[in-house]
Amino acid sequence: MWLNVVWFALFVVIIIGYLIMDGFDLGVGILHPFLAKSDEERRVFLNSIGPVWDGNEVWLVLGGGALFAAFPLVYASLFSGLYIAMMLVLLVLILRTVAIEFRSKRPSPRWRSAWDWVFFAASLGIALLLGVAFGNILDGLPLRADGYIEVKLYDLLMPYAVLVGLTTIFMLATHGAIYLSMKADGALLARVKQWVPRLMIIFFVLNTLLVGMTVWLHEGVADRYFQQPWLVILPAAALVSVIVAWLMVRREQYFAAFLFSSAMIAGLLISAAVGLFPNLLVSTLNSSYNLTIFNAASQPNTLTVMLIMALIGIPFVLLYTAGVYYIFRGRVHIGPSSY
């Protein structure tokens, strides 16, 4: 049984890894039409994430794999139930990848601005779709006794889920702006710094609304906090991190700001995960249909093998990822092999 809890925790860690790592490059994509004015500035945006975005996206692939391996019933129900939404996620993921790769391959301004729009729309789309999907998971889905979900696309667009989607967009945009403060220079840096507090305020407002709505609607998530009020420390820590991140930007301690911005993401996701635990998918039809970390998991055999692999693999990943970031540290410089 402890293995199931460990795998729940590990899965949350992988999703946090994805939101922190790929989150900032999604944020950069969301911000770039608003902040980057010239072709040169757009290339700075693109190349700030150029050497690392591909590795960042692997967290999502790992998340998919880990869900498949550790909780195959959830993987099967969720992905098949949200079919059209998942297809849209795949569409925007593909478009974003090729937009980054293709954009600077030709000098034509029309070619470039077309791909710039694809890059923006796809980055925004990923944040929105993943946010809305997560909102639906928090909200509960019409999960049947046979473990399948039958739901129309527009039923997924309930106000609560859309609010989670919007909050995700602004969370990642804030995170991206803070990342850019480490990478941009001159006038662009000044503009980025102006935008950080604006984004933070919007995020703050949306997030407060979201918390209010969660409590008001008595979504399953809020119940745990009524039962164990001390857990409020988690979302509180996330909110404190936002404020500290802003102070750090003002002091030009950009790396520290980025760490606090990452802590904010981790805090929020852990807050949501704690509310969900031990459910993975909540059924709106009958709570006995819920898929939990116990009834939807793989056998202890598989979970043990997987845990060993994760404990061997992930430290290596963190080590060489840190090495790569170190080599590309500092402000962006456009050279002959740049995007």
Partner: protein, 467 residues
């Protein structure tokens, strides 16, 4: 329309399109490592110039490979949830392992590979390139492991659960080393090296024929790629292919019968070189070599090979599809050996290759042959596994989704077709532009002299500031 049929079409389409790219990543990766080693050994700038050029091509191939690969990982859940539930314990773990061990390696080091030329000295850059190439091969290892478990499952127990039947892992070692895993892995790796080498041969020959100022680089490219192509085209057919065929005979005999279009149990069974299977009358027409099949399958010309009629017809794969895919692969394999011999002898014959326009044109076209051969090879494996999704455990018709509607899969099929056709057109367009442009001069690529770049771990991680 039937959603299950459409899901099959969609998986075939998306998997096939994805499979254009990973073999190129592996093959080009291996050859880029060879080019990098050549530079370290000779310090001849042409090798460095080629590294810059081929790394850019690699970036293009890799981007589309990644984008289309994520689709595959998600599609098991979206279109094949019954399959996902059945195999999650085993297949899911292998996919997750691929992510944590291999894909991270590729994705993590890709940035250093693409942009490392001006940040790292040649040794460290080569190390990054090696890590990406190694990651690509390692990635294929896990994927082949997972797919081989579907072909020849082992190390499992079947149990009924409230959520349906599931396969549980009883031995990790047995699920990893299923009987078909090693032969299939080697066959795929070698096919990938051939594909990568063929692309280099094509581009090298094109430089010699049409982009005269790059003739010297074209020759260097061919010198790296030709030996790889020559040796492995022979190894692929005579050693790896033969070993693989024996393995199929032993573990999936009905698949072998379909591949060969063999209907009755036959002693001294002939091998059809080219032919057509009439499935309604259960006859295979074509040019046949007597006793060759018995020899290839069992190593004995008098051995009996089991025909399709020895198996219940509900367990037959689509015979003609499997037969044609397999035979096209074999024929192209033979043609590749011919091309390797032709180009190799012209090369050894006082470098006549450089002047021989005809042979160079053949080389230009080779990459299409290898791509098709690799593709139909995979089709043989997958068509031949039908009607099973997991060999003799789960039928493909039972693996789909009970909540999916026909129009939804029709929509997603439409989306993938439009998207992939566009992507392919853009890929060819950009690749062509890059090839026509040719390698940039080193002077325009290098921002600082090679010797000024950090070339040991100590130099990389000690420097305080970057110029």
């Amino acid at each position: 329309m039937d959603q299950l049929f459409l899901s099959r079409v969609q998986f075939a389409l998306t998997a096939s399109f994805h499979f254009i790219y990973p073999p190129l990543s592996m093959g080009l990766g291996l050859l880029l490592v060879i080019i990098g080693v050549n530079y370290l050994r000779t310090r001849d700038p042409k090798w460095r110039q080629l590294s810059f050029f081929w790394v850019k091509v690699y970036g293009l191939v890799f981007a589309i490979g990644v984008a289309t690969g994520i689709v595959q990982e998600f599609e098991f859940g979206t279109n094949w949830p019954e399959y996902s539930r059945f195999v999650g314990n085993i297949f899911g773990s292998l996919l997750a392992a691929e992510g944590v061990f291999a894909f991270f390696l590729e994705g993590g080091f890709l940035g250093l590979m693409l942009f490392g030329g001006n940040r790292l000295g040649p040794r460290m850059w080569l190390l990054a390139i090696f890590m990406v190439a190694f990651g690509a091969h390692f990635s294929a290892l896990w994927i082949l492991m997972a797919n081989s478990w579907m072909q020849t499952p082992a190390g499992y127990t079947i149990q009924e659960t409230p959520m349906g039947t599931q396969a549980f892992m009883s031995s990790f070692a047995a699920t990893v080393f299923t009987p078909s895993f090693i032969p299939r892995l080697l066959h795929t790796w070698i096919a990938s090296w051939l594909t990568g080498a063929a692309l280099m041969l094509s581009v090298g020959a094109w430089f010699l024929l049409r982009v005269k100022q790059h003739a010297k680089l074209g020759k260097a490219t061919i010198c790296v790629a030709l030996p790889v192509f020559f040796i492995f085209s022979i190894v692929q057919l005579t050693l790896s292919g033969a070993q693989h065929a024996e393995n199929v005979t032993q573990f999936q005999p009905v698949k072998l019968a379909a591949m060969e279009g063999l209907w009755e149990d036959t002693t001294c069974a002939p091998m059809t070189l080219i032919g057509w299977v009439d499935e309604t009358n259960q006859v295979t027409y074509g040019i046949k070599v007597p006793c060759l099949l018995s020899f290839l399958a069992h190593g004995d010309i008098n051995a009996t090979v089991q025909g399709l009629q020895s198996f219940p017809s509900e367990n037959w794969p689509p015979v003609n599809l499997t037969f044609q895919s397999y035979h096209l692969m074999i024929s192209l394999g033979v043609v590749m050996i011919g091309i390797g011999l032709l180009a190799g002898s012209f090369f050894l014959w006082r470098r006549r290759l450089w002047q021989s326009a005809l042979v160079l044109w053949v080389l230009v076209l080779t990459v299409f042959l290898t791509e098709v051969a690799t593709m139909v090879g995979w089709w043989t494996a997958e068509f031949g596994r039908q009607p099973w999704i997991v060999w003799e455990l789960l039928r493909t018709v039972d693996a789909g989704s009970p909540v999916l509607l026909g129009y939804q899969v029709l929509l997603s099929n439409g989306m993938f077709i439009v998207l992939y056709v566009t992507l392919f057109a853009l890929f060819i367009f950009l690749l062509n532009e890059k090839i026509q442009h040719g390698p940039d001069s080193l002077a325009s690529m290098e921002e600082r002299p090679v010797n000024a770049l950090p070339d040991t771990f100590r130099e990389i991680f000690r420097r305080q500031s970057r110029a």
